[in-house]
């Protein structure tokens, strides 16, 4: 398909409702030929796997990490590399990795050599750490209580050897959501970070009546914490009900909630989405709050180390973080990680009672 970008664009030529182009346009010939007819695959090294079709044809995939935020310069470089070794064919994974699709075995090694020389991080296939799904953060969102790309960077730097070489008992999936709207799949990840606020929105009574609509602002609150304050022609917030979600700020700029000293990061653990062995699981609270300490959030990295190392030491092969915790029990999890258990860890939300222990089965941990 030759692409065109005319110098002068006549917007009347815009076609609507055409949808995306057909995916066949982008599949390497060996995939077109063996589509839906694959026999097996083998992981040859942490960043290289080969898929073998029933016909005997093979395709090699070389996986490298990407920060997801990519400049056109880097995208062009990727396109050039793909052209040189892969007849121009490559893809992205759900977790933002890049996969070069090689049809000719003799080009695999030169490709990996060039990627290494250009400082690409090769790996992420199999039982190890893969790239981190994350949200926009301070780069692009009004809601963000923490930056997302920076957390991804510091965590991936810390655990880089588990992407490029070392194995973990099973896959370890990290995720970052920069506020409780959670635009990424944080709630079902092995280890995840959520940006949180801890104080009520501050009400700018002066400007409220000029900038905000009362009914819309009240309706925006999921817990009905907002009531009118007729005397001030403004609103009141019930401190017992507010759970710092920031929805009201989304509709009313006179209710800022961002707070450099009190915003920060929570860590949740033990979620998974796949159906293998145990059904999918939600992530649960491990650390209720760590402060925002840009640029490299050392407290978050250290706390993650404790969880990660305890998992590596304690889990059986094939156990995901959540399966490991379920087997040893939460009292043991807090004991072996050394993380404190606090009031915040006990649910007080709608279905809290479902999380209370209604039995005498308890493990004694010193």
């Amino acid at each position: 398909m030759p692409y065109v970008i005319p110098d002068v664009v006549d917007v009347k030529q815009r076609k609507t409702d055409i949808g995306p182009p057909h995916y066949k346009n982008f599949l390497p010939p060996v995939i077109q030929k063996n589509y839906g007819d694959w026999k097996t695959h083998e992981i040859l090294s942490p960043g290289l796997m080969v898929h073998i079709a029933n016909s005997g044809d093979k395709i090699w995939s070389v996986r490298v990490a990407s920060p997801r935020l990519l400049s056109t310069d880097t995208l062009r470089e990727i396109a050039d590399i793909a052209e040189k070794y892969c007849d121009g064919y490559f893809r992205f994974t759900t977790r933002n990795n890049i996969e070069f699709l090689v049809s000719d075995e003799s080009k695999v090694k030169p490709l990996m050599d060039e990627l290494t020389a250009k400082k690409y991080m090769i790996g992420g296939i199999g039982s190890r750490v893969s790239n981190i799904v994350h949200t926009q953060g301070w780069i692009h969102c009004h809601s963000a209580a923490v930056d997302a790309s920076a957390l991804v960077k510091v965590i991936m730097d810390e655990f880089a050897d588990y992407f490029t070489t070392k194995e973990t008992p099973n896959k370890v999936r990290f995720a970052v959501a920069c506020c409780t709207n959670m635009c990424g799949a944080v709630h079902c990840s092995d280890i995840a970070y959520v940006g949180i606020h801890r104080k009520l929105p501050r009400i700018d009574h002066e400007n409220f009546k000029n900038l905000c609509e009362l009914p819309t602002t009240m309706a925006s609150c999921p817990t009905a914490a907002i009531t009118p304050d007729p005397a001030k022609k403004s609103i009141k917030i019930n401190a017992d009900k507010c759970m710092y979600c920031g929805n009201c700020f989304s509709v009313c700029p006179s209710l800022p909630i961002a707070d450099p000293e009190n915003d920060g990061v929570a860590i949740v653990v033990g979620g998974k989405v796949g159906n293998l062995r145990k059904p999918p699981m939600f992530s649960k609270l491990a650390v209720a709050y760590l402060p925002n300490t840009p640029p490299r959030w050392p407290e978050v990295v250290k706390a993650t180390r404790k969880i990660f190392d305890a998992y590596i030491a304690g889990a059986k092969k094939h156990e995901r973080v959540g399966e490991w915790i379920e087997r040893i029990g939460w009292e043991k999890f807090f004991a072996v990680t050394g993380l404190p258990f606090t009031f915040q860890h006990i649910d007080d939300w709608t279905y809290a009672f479902k999380t209370f222990r209604t039995s005498t089965q308890i493990k004694w941990v010193k």
Binding site: T216, A219, S220, S250, V251
Partner: protein, 74 residues
């Protein structure tokens, strides 16, 4: 009701409620359904108003239909 007449009526509904009540597409459909019009017919009229730029979809904690002039820069 003729299509052009319906389009005028829809535009008027949105114009008169501007600043008071926000209509979603389905609210407009429900409104005119009471006058014995088919859903598909109403939907088509809305679509023509949107394509012409007289009305637009807006987002305010949910998508609504509002007057075209609200769009910035056009």
């Amino acid at each position: 009701m003729e299509k052009e007449e319906l389009k005028k009526a829809i535009y008027k509904l949105i114009e008169e409620s501007a600043g008071k009540k926000k209509y979603k597409q389905q609210d407009v459909i429900k409104h005119f359904r009471q006058q014995g019009l088919a859903d598909a017919q109403i939907k088509e009229a809305i679509r023509e108003l949107i394509d012409a730029g007289d009305l637009i979809y807006t987002y305010f904690g949910g998508s609504y239909i509002e007057l075209g002039e609200k769009r910035q820069g056009s």
